[in-house]
């Protein structure tokens, strides 16, 4: 790890090394700008990869995997904290921004001219080439994906192999533990090395606490290193915040920057839940691509379904029964397929800094819970269509198990109280959302924080709303486009 002097400087200081920060750093460095990328978390070493869920949480995730949003229920919010950000531990899913989603996000705020869809698509084309994006091949669907394919085809629902940023995937099923073979083209093996090749300095274990301002201009950042020592880095041209939809607003709030009615507000998610099915033949969920197949047939209804790689050490949490009943249920793990539904929720929560951590508030709306109920029902239906013997909905107050498709109607009565559901999220948006002025949002259509100079927010926090599709690709394309305008 490079160590900074107490006061170092660069043309641009980029805060965060995930999808947005790495994309911006690549653009700026390739344009000849002097760039420093500051990452709060550690570097990802080869010995940190593929160690199982526990070690992955403890080494690579924010709050060691214990970060939650509090509201009517407790929702785990998974986010990486390492060089490369969440791209290191996600399912390698790359989704082009659909036109309808673009309209909902950028069209609705009048940003069509400033951020044209065609311009984003050009960046997406390049990103896909750079990151070797392609659909998961048949050999990598694994039992989990093959069954979802079978179920969706049987029902006539639109589904397809997931497009992934992986080069020569070995199908180790360990995407979420940092790819053990480094085949996943996450930022620490792609754009960050490219930025470094053009002179960018990537500094791990440098946590930015505040933005230094002078006469409304961002002139640097102040923070602490992993060893607790303070640092300050001056920015000659400006600061690019790309620290995530949780950290970016917290840095702004700590710095007293931006409209308080918007910074950290409008926190949007794609909350998700899962339904497991048990089959006659082995599924061996741990083999193949972690996430290989998806069904987007119901995207216009607000939900999308995809296979979920659930390791054995996490699989039993919501399975019913204890003792021998637990043993019998877990003995079926090799014959279990686990599929998730993620929804484009309408709920808005908030993010704020609190005693050195982040305070997340979020409660799904009743309408969101209705979508969850429909999604869980559809997942169960698809399991049976694929040949499942039984299905575990995993919802408190509902049936422990559904043994026949004739009983699927029971799922229409699942409770709508979020406290009955096991909900999780990793797609986070809009806490520094775009708007034409500071009455509408935190940043303008160029990513610049309203009322400041030399300060841009280019990550998912700047997106106007949640997208309804996996966001990495859009985050990278927007960051690329807006960073190009800084050079």
């Amino acid at each position: 790890m490079t160590r900074t002097n107490d006061i170092d400087s660069a043309d641009f200081v980029v805060v965060g090394s995930g999808a947005a920060g790495a994309s911006a750093a690549r653009v700026l460095a390739e344009a000849g700008r002097d760039v420093i990328v500051l990452e709060e978390g550690p570097e990802v070493r080869q010995e940190d990869r593929g160690l199982g869920a526990v070690e992955s949480f403890l080494r690579l995730f924010r709050d060691r995997g214990t970060q939650v949003a509090m509201g009517r229920s407790v929702i785990p919010v998974l986010q990486a904290r390492c060089v490369g950000g969440t791209t290191v531990v996600n399912g390698a899913i790359v989704w082009r921004l659909p036109e309808k989603a673009y309209e909902r996000a950028f069209g609705a705020i009048g940003a069509r001219d400033a951020i044209p869809l065609a311009a984003l698509e050009e960046r997406m084309d390049r990103i896909e080439r750079d990151l070797s994006v392609g659909p998961a091949p048949e050999r990598l669907l694994g039992g989990n994906g093959t069954l979802m394919k079978r179920g969706s085809e049987s029902l006539g629902w639109a589904g397809h192999p997931i497009r992934r940023n992986v080069l020569d995937c070995q199908g180790s099923g360990r995407c979420m533990e940092a790819c053990p073979t480094k085949r996943k083209q996450s930022m620490e093996v792609t754009y960050l090395p490219r930025a470094a090749k053009h002179g960018a300095r990537i500094l791990a274990e440098h946590e930015v606490r505040t933005i230094d301002m002078s006469a409304a201009r961002a002139v640097g950042v102040t923070g602490v290193r992993g060893d607790g020592s303070p640092f300050r880095i001056a920015a000659k041209h400006g600061v690019v915040l790309a620290a995530s939809a949780i950290q970016s607003p917290c840095i702004l709030r700590r710095s007293g920057i931006g409209p308080r009615e918007h910074v950290g507000q409008h926190f949007r998610l794609h909350p998700a839940t899962a339904v497991a099915g048990v089959y006659r033949d082995p599924v061996r969920i741990w083999e193949g691509a972690t996430q290989s197949f998806e069904v987007d047939h119901f995207r216009d209804e607000g939900f999308k379904m995809e296979v979920t790689g659930l390791p054995v050490e996490l699989a039993g949490v919501r399975l019913p029964g204890m003792g021998q009943a637990f043993q019998r249920a877990m003995a079926e793990y090799p014959r279990m397929a686990v599929w998730g539904v993620q929804i484009r929720a309408e709920a808005e929560g908030s993010v704020s800094p609190a005693n050195g951590r982040s305070d997340l508030r979020y409660t799904p709306t009743p309408a969101d819970m209705e979508i969850f109920r429909r999604g869980a029902r559809r997942l169960a239906e698809m399991h049976f269509a694929a040949g499942a013997l039984r299905v575990y909905p995993g919802v408190h107050g509902g049936p422990d198990v559904i043994e026949s498709p004739d009983d699927l109607g029971q799922l229409d009565e699942l409770p709508l109280d979020p406290r009955c559901w096991s909900i999780i999220s990793s797609h986070l948006f809009s806490t520094c959302r775009m708007g034409k002025d500071d009455r509408a949002g935190v940043v303008g259509f160029d990513g610049a924080v309203h009322g400041t100079r030399g300060l841009w927010v280019l990550d998912a926090s700047a997106l106007p709303t949640n997208l309804g599709v996996n966001p990495q690709h859009t985050i990278m394309a927007v960051a690329t486009l807006l960073a190009e305008r800084l050079v």
Binding site: Q46, G52, L58, T181, K182
Partner: protein, 131 residues
């Protein structure tokens, strides 16, 4: 934050019933819990430690028996644990599932469990393409 030897011994008895495992496997899971508590963020560790305490010491409140959970008869302990898992109180229910989730990570890491389910080793170490 630590889980002392007595606390480990008591929670191991409970975990053996939760997971249907022999007591020696459950003791290993309790050791894992202790290790996890030492590495978890303080707030999370406090919550988990409180959960361990509550599951160990609340039989009187939930089944009316003034004994630690480890000293209950197997039938009473089964009834007691079911009260936690199916509680109408969200906080109680989630406290139990939080403890179960963390303990499961220790259970799933057991070589004997992984061999039984034929899921391969917990950690895979492979050289990267650039290695």
């Amino acid at each position: 934050m630590r889980l002392g030897p007595d606390a480990q011994r008591r929670i191991a008895v409970v975990l053996a019933d939760v997971f249907g495992e022999p007591i020696d496997v459950a003791r290993d899971i309790a050791v894992f819990l202790d290790g996890y508590l030492q590495r978890a963020p303080a707030r999370a560790a406090l919550g988990i430690r409180l959960g361990v305490w509550a599951v160990t010491w609340l039989p009187f409140a939930l089944v009316g028996v003034p004994l630690p959970a480890s000293a209950l008869s197997p039938a009473t302990r089964e009834r007691y644990l079911a009260r936690w898992a199916h509680s109408r109180n969200y906080i109680l229910r989630e406290a139990f599932y939080l403890l179960k989730a963390i303990a499961l990570m220790g259970w799933g890491a057991q070589p004997s469990v992984r061999a039984r389910l034929d899921v391969g080793p917990l950690a895979v170490t492979q050289p990267g393409p650039q290695a």
